[in-house]
Amino acid sequence: MAMKGGGFERKSKASSEVPASSLADIAFLLLIFFMVTTVFQADKDRPIAWPEAEAAQKIDEKQKNILNIWLEQTGSVYMNDQPFAMADVSSFVAPLYAASERALVISIRSDRQTPYRFVDQLQQELVDAGVVRVVFATQLEQSLTRERR
């Protein structure tokens, strides 16, 4: 029997194409992995009017080491979505501060019309808790809006 090329030109059984059927599974797996592992800020925003500042800088600390303290116009204090009495702030913050190995940063989110006495009381509570790093959270003020005032 005469074979073309003497029988050496055998057809390869391996496919010459990249197997594309599993790529979709891989991509969806990655998509779902990132969707599940992404953690967003834990506490809800309180309705406050933010103060504005030009010199505001980004807080240079990991998200888990930032504790937001919301201070409303009436002087009510919220941490982790729960209301607190002003006098209880220090006893709540101190263990958190110790657990974070003194890396905790407090972000004071106060309404712009809050009377300063409440801010001062809050600062005293934080000093009592031994916290040193505090940030007055603000929105960035554009230089244009400043000139208009």
Binding site: A20, S21, L23, A24, I26, A27, F28, L30, L31, F34, T38, Q41, P51, E52, A53, E54, A55, A56, Q57, K58, I59, Q63, I66, S107, I108, S110, D111, R112, Q113, T114, P115, Y116, R117, V119, D120, Q123, L126, V127, D128, G130, V131, V132, R133, V134, V135, F136, A137, T138, Q139, L140, E141, R146
Partner: protein
């Protein structure tokens, strides 16, 4: 000749899956690129340690008193002379004062009834002028 009705259809009856991978990767990359985590911005200060007090010469203190209406009164050390300013004038004032005395400390004293935003305005002006020695206090009557 074959029966005409029994013709093979040329349209595939399967969902085309070869482009699914492209769609999924496109979505993945789109979300990876567009996701931005909002980083909080703010004016950072360092609070004193509990029980920490410092004796400071009156000569090195610039008293900045914030009144309830937002008017800022500036006093230098023990000098009884007062100067009324707006918060946005503090930046220039601080730059001028600190060029004459490097050890100057800004003592920001806010009236208990003054709005928080006035204190933030003054703190903003001081930090814009690169002031690092700032003391926040409440104004005692």
């Amino acid at each position: 000749m074959a029966i005409l009705n029994n013709r093979k259809t040329k349209v595939s009856d399967e969902v085309p899956t070869s482009s699914m991978a492209d769609i999924a990767f496109l979505l993945l990359i789109f979300f990876l690129v567009t996701t931005t985590f909002p980083k909080d911005k703010g004016l950072a200060i360092v609070l004193p340690e509990p029980g920490e007090t410092l004796e400071v010469s009156q000569r090195n203190i610039l008293h900045i008193l914030i009144q309830p209406g937002g008017v800022v009164v500036v006093r230098r050390g023990e000098n009884p002379q007062e100067q009324q300013l707006r918060p946005d004038q503090i930046e220039g004032l601080w730059r001028h004062e600190v060029s004459q005395n490097e050890n100057l400390i800004a003592a920001v004293k806010t009236h208990p009834d003054a709005a928080y935003e006035h204190m933030v305005d003054v703190l903003d002006a001081l930090q814009s002028a690169n002031a690092d020695k700032i003391s926040l206090q409440v104004l005692e009557q």
